[in-house]
Symmetry: C2
Subunit: 115 residues, 2 copies
C-alpha cells in the first residue's frame, strides 16, 4: 500500500520527530508511527523500514533506551524512553531545525538583491 500524500522525509528529520514523540512518555515503535501519522493529519507516513532502523540507531547512540513490556492490548512490545543524553540532543536538534527553517525561509523569500 502506497501512502496517498507523496511526501518524503528529508534525511535526518525522522530522528528528530521520533525523539520528540518519545519525549512525551514511554511508547513503542508501532505507536510512534501512528502518532506521527495522526499528528501530521496523514501527511507523514513513516515506513517500518525507516522506523525500526532509526530506533536502533537512536538506542545505539544512547538517546533512547528500551525494554519489553505488555501493551494495553496484551501484546509484547518494546517501549522506548528518552535518556538524559537524548533529551539534550533533542533540544539541540530542535534548535538546529528551527535555525535551518529560518535560513531556508529567508532564502526562499529573498529578492535578487538581498545581502
Amino acid at each position: 500500500m502506497k501512502h496517498d500524500s507523496g511526501f518524503d522525509l528529508p534525511q535526518g528529520t525522522l530522528d528528530l520527530l521520533i525523539l520528540k514523540v518519545v519525549a512525551h512518555g514511554p511508547i513503542h515503535g508501532y505507536a510512534i508511527a501512528q502518532r506521527i501519522r495522526q499528528m501530521s493529519r496523514n501527511a507523514l507516513e513513516v515506513q517500518q523500514g525507516s522506523l525500526y532502523p532509526a530506533l536502533h540507531r537512536l538506542e545505539y547512540k544512547k538517546y533512547l533506551n528500551a525494554d519489553w513490556k505488555l501493551t494495553e492490548t496484551g501484546r509484547e512490545a518494546r517501549f522506548y524512553r528518552l535518556t538524559s543524553r537524548g533529551k539534550a540532543h533533542l533540544e539541540s536538534e530542535t534548535a538546529s531545525w528551527e535555525r535551518l527553517t529560518e535560513i531556508v525561509g529567508l532564502i526562499l523569500q529573498g529578492s535578487p538583491g538581498e545581502a
Copy 2:
C-alpha cells in the same frame, strides 16, 4: 578549512536552494554558493563536492540548462538558467517544503494528547 557552523542540509534541500537562487537570473556555480552563504549570513556553507554534482543532477533532469560564458572578471564559467520545467518544480518543491516545516513544527510543538 572547516566551516564553523557544523550544519548539515537535509537531503533535497540543496536542490531547492539552488533552484531558487538560479530563479533570480543566470548565475554560475561558484556564485550560487557565495550567494547562499551571504543570504544565510555564513550559516550555510555549500561544499563544492555537493554543489557541482547537484548542478549536474538538476541539468540532467532538465530543471536547469547552462552554457559557458565569461564572468565580469574575465573567466570562463558555466551560467545556469531555470527551465520552465525547473520553474514548475521549484514551485511545487517550495510548497512541499512549506508544508513539511508546517507539519514538523506542529509535531515539535505538540502536547502529548494532541490529535
